[in-house]
């Protein structure tokens, strides 16, 4: 049985990756299992300079999911290159850096540095809903996405994947901007903007008032969007949003994803990602499918 996939030029032993912001830089989860079992690791959103992140409270639970407003707290690309990348490189797994910035110039400067590092690719974060500047502010228009993606494309030779926000009217047109700007792939979905109110205090639970919704609650939205994007573009899709097992992963692949990411599911159980690898294999075995690539986009619409 073949489980290898090629995501935007990144060869992975299986289609399972872990989503940015849910796996740090791998150290904590390496205490539970061998990271080499994963197809790839998407790092925590990393910026040119260190970022403090938002005021607490930053997370809260919701029905079959959670809201977060971390605000991209990270140690910066320099620290990452010196301390985290050498650690990640000890494992036989693809390393994709999630890159975030607050201006086009910042994205470009960051990607110039990333281009010199021993990484397999870049996931351009145009979709974080929790910061005032950059990210989703670019990611929610065709023009914004095209502007940043084109600028980064000029300085980045490595595979470039752009992560999309679902908080838009027409995600297919945004994905088209990614393709038109010369990126190699798209990943979706980032979190859905949400809010939870403490009815005793009559205030939002999160200090930032709103946050990004993730977890199984958002899966149907994510599957629908992956399907729509797969019909609109020819570049491969990294699909995510509420995946917690192999069956969920198969759904995304049938909808058109070449590979998938486990996000909030990592918090529910630290073994969710590698259990998903097994779950995909079980499905292939059950239906006697020899190559996982044979199921990509194979949903038959009614």
């Amino acid at each position: 049985m073949n489980t290898q996939v090629n995501l935007a030029g990144i060869k992975m032993k299986n289609p399972v990756t872990v989503a940015s912001g849910t796996f740090g830089y791998g150290r904590e989860f390496s205490q539970f299992f061998d990271l080499s079992k994963l197809g790839g690791i998407i790092t925590k959103g990393t910026s040119l300079k260190p970022k403090s992140g938002n005021k607490p409270s930053r997370v809260c639970e919701t029905a079959s999911g959670m809201l977060n407003s971390i605000g991209l707290q990270n140690p910066g690309v320099e620290y990452f290159a010196e301390n985290d990348l050498p650690f990640l490189r000890k494992f036989d797994t693809a390393v994709i850096v999630n890159a975030c910035g607050s201006s086009v110039e910042e994205y470009v400067e960051l990607c110039k540095i990333l281009n010199t590092l021993d990484i397999d690719g870049v996931e351009l974060n145009l979709s974080c809903p929790n910061v005032k500047a950059g990210c989703m502010a670019f990611g929610n228009t065709y023009e914004g996405v095209k502007l940043v993606t084109s600028a980064v494309r000029k300085v980045l030779d490595k595979p470039l994947i752009v992560k999309l926000t679902p908080n838009v009217t027409d995600i297919a047109s945004i994905a088209k901007a990614v393709e038109d700007a010369g990126a190699d792939g798209v990943s979706l979905i980032n979190t859905l903007l949400g809010m939870k109110i403490d009815i005793d205090k009559k205030k939002p639970v999160l200090a930032n008032n709103t946050g990004g919704l993730s977890g199984p609650a958002i899966k149907p939205v994510a599957v629908r969007m992956v399907y729509q994007v797969s019909k609109a573009v020819n570049i491969p899709i990294l699909g995510m949003g509420g995946i917690i097992n192999g069956d969920d992963a198969i759904e995304f692949m049938l909808a058109g994803a070449t590979a998938i990411s486990i996000g909030a599911g990592n918090f529910m159980d630290p073994f969710t990602s590698i259990n998903t690898v097994k779950g995909i294999e079980n499905y292939l075995e059950k239906y006697k499918i020899k190559d996982v690539n044979d199921i990509i986009g194979k949903v038959e619409m009614n």
Partner: protein
């Protein structure tokens, strides 16, 4: 190093109304646990509740590999947890938190706790007693109905003072007031605290004013418990230039030097 254990619930006890003590077999977790560590429990194998529940460790029996934790039924997660029966397995990750109580070199310590914040202080007192450290404990409760574990804390202390806000049991007032009264006389070399934020803020201020070492155990809304999601942020007053100014309760904590954090 944290482990995932499907720990058998061997004893379940409701110590006061709505507060449960669970004894579980979790040798893999117990052997590496220190006073102040916590565990994360997945209360159901469904997707709701979605996140694990962080719960402090009350007592460690290293010989038998038993772990005891105590929790108050508050919401959906703790309700489901409280319905577990003896013999059932519970999905636990632990021990968690690098910031644990440091006490080995002390001679004379004060421990102060309030309400459901007293639980992680028991193992600390127990281990400190074993090292012949003088242990004075100050526990505060809302009223007589909420007083719990008096006998247990009595056994691991040299002096135990119980206070209730309304005076319906033992001394009337806040535990911090009695600690403050005794400070000059007793010359503690460290104060250890866990409880409501108002108490922790008062202890923090007192320890800074009186220049006494102080370690406090903090709580914050948490998702992963592993230091990955960066949800349980606490502002540090030690923020180095150019570096993020937030630490995380699950990783740097849950126990912090009182002077290092702003909350």
């Amino acid at each position: 190093m944290p482990k995932q254990v499907f720990a058998k619930l061997v004893k379940k006890e409701e110590i006061i109304k709505g507060v449960f003590k669970f004894t579980v077999e979790a040798e893999e977790i117990v052997k590496d646990s220190k006073p102040g560590n916590f565990i994360e429990i997945r209360v159901s194998n469904q997707t709701a509740p979605f996140l694990r529940r962080p719960i402090s460790i009350y007592n460690l029996d290293k010989e038998k590999g038993l772990l005891e934790f105590i929790f108050q039924v508050k919401g959906e997660g703790t309700t489901i947890l409280s319905e577990k029966q003896e013999g059932e397995n519970i999905d636990i990750i632990g021990p968690l938190g690098f910031g644990t109580f440091k006490f080995e070199s002390r001679k004379n310590i004060a421990i102060i706790g309030g309400g459901i914040g007293i639980f992680p202080l028991y193992e600390l007192a127990k281990q400190a007693k074993k090292l012949n450290i003088n242990v004075d404990i100050y526990l505060g409760y809302r009223n007589k109905e909420n007083v719990m574990l008096e006998k247990e804390f009595g056994k691991v202390s040299d002096n135990l003072l119980i206070a209730t806000d309304d005076g319906s049991y033992s001394k009337k007032g806040f535990a911090i007031n009695f600690l403050e009264e005794n400070l000059d006389k007793n010359k503690y070399d460290c104060i250890y605290a866990c409880g409501p934020l108002s108490m922790l803020r008062a202890v923090q201020k007192l320890s800074i004013d009186k220049k006494i070492n102080c370690q406090i155990s903090l709580e914050e809304k948490m998702a992963c418990g592993l230091g990955v999601c960066l949800g349980c942020a606490v502002k540090t007053s030690k923020s180095p230039k150019d570096l993020p100014e937030y630490w995380h309760v699950c990783k740097a904590g849950p126990v912090f030097n009182a002077k290092d954090v702003e909350f």
